[in-house]
Amino acid sequence: MPYPVEQNAKFAAYAHPERLVSTEWLAAAIEAGDLDGGKLVVLESDEDVLLYETGHIPGAVKIDWHTELNDETTRDFVDGGAFAAMAAAKGISRDSTVVIYGDKSNWWAAYALWVFTLFGHEDVRLLDGGRDKWIAEGRATTTDKTAPAPAEYPVVKRNDAPIRAFKEDVLAHFGRPLIDVRSAEEYTGQRTHMPAYPEEGALRGGHIPTAASVPWARAAAEDGTYRSRPELEALYLGEAGLKEGDDVVAYCRIGERSSHTWFALKYLLGFDTVRNYDGSWTEWGNAVRAPIARGIERGTVPSAP
């Protein structure tokens, strides 16, 4: 890690405290001029494509999950060439420390961080509490567009296997824990999309059999920060029944909310093998013969078709 890791009691309890920074830490780093020179790069990743333009952390660069991280044609992420071009244009080098923040308790920030991790970017961190906490604390924002000096970023082949699960992986995963991070209504099959969100075309409602329901927001406190380690342990080890060393797959609707949970399991609780199934319900709920459980019961491991 080329950039100093924040030391505080809350972060120290996490398995990988180097993956989070606080608003105080970031404000001090900006104050100290650390954003000059590309060693530290701050990215804002929001659901709303215009939110950055209404005011952002001074020096932060916008990244749009939809147009810059997703491939325009195939339902997949960009390839190494497109990622390198995107990163370089934002002033990011391979050894830059990248801090990502965003709206909605960092959903889209965690998603962007997960994609950076697919490309093996080593030092990428989340701003604990995200955009809302920064603004709630009355910290500086600006509408001045950041014009980063272009950097050089190598073309790196995306390595999906360690942290990304495909449908076939999930079918082969039965017998090991799955976490469904969607709302209770989506889990039971009452609805196929988030309350107040567009219907995104899943034909069937319900959940992947045996998945435990832990809506993503339960990992976040009221101020959008992650809950403390003991609270997260009560949630995932206690309620959801995960055990140390478990191989876990998390999913939601398209993989964005489950990135938030993936981060908590991987970096805050220290599970080595956690994969995000980004096909999630929009794939599973449409897939022919994919087994589905409805209602509040987790269901049982399906027998082979």
């Binding site: 659901e47 709303d48 494509v49 215009l50 939110l51 209404t54 147009t67 107040a196 567009p198 995104e200």
Partner: protein, 151 residues
């Protein structure tokens, strides 16, 4: 499709968007989000009079009212509410407000359902997000179509 089928104010907005490069179109949408008028007090205090458009990613509420000045044609007034942290949704509402507010029911009903695609934002905003604006226009048209007929 060209803009000749659109009401004058809306056609002008579409022309403005089309004359710009993609990043400038986003900036123009942001300007519309800033210009969306506040709700009048009588609606501010009565959220139950507004309807939510659930297809929008962020909460958007809208309602319509009609006015008929003496002897003049009936005109439709549009009212929208969306939070400041949802500028894209506010921008869509701003475009529809400036383009449609004060028109007659027949003029609004004649607006093509795929008018949002004319703004040239689909690539930058993505088809998924554009669906919110199409849904908003659809909701306005359904509410106008349901107005009681006047002789």
């Amino acid at each position: 499709m060209n803009t000749s089928a659109l009401p004058a104010a809306l056609a002008e907005i579409v022309d403005d968007f089309q004359a710009l490069t993609e990043p400038d179109r986003l900036q123009l949408l942001l300007d519309f989000s800033r210009e969306l008028p506040e709700l009048p007090d009588r609606l501010k205090d009565h959220p139950e009079l507004m309807e939510q458009v659930v297809e929008c990613q962020s909460p958007l509420f809208l309602t319509i009212e009609t006015e008929q000045p003496d002897g003049g044609p009936e005109s439709v007034r549009l009212f929208f509410k969306a939070p400041p942290e949802a500028p894209t949704t506010r921008g869509f509402a701003g475009v529809l407000h400036e383009g449609l507010d004060g028109l007659t029911p027949a003029e609004i009903l004649a607006v093509p359902d795929d008018m949002p695609e004319l703004l040239g934002l689909t690539r930058a905003i993505t088809p998924l997000r554009m669906r919110g604006m199409t849904a908003m226009l659809g909701r306005i048209k359904r509410k106008v179509a349901a107005l009681p007929l006047h002789s």
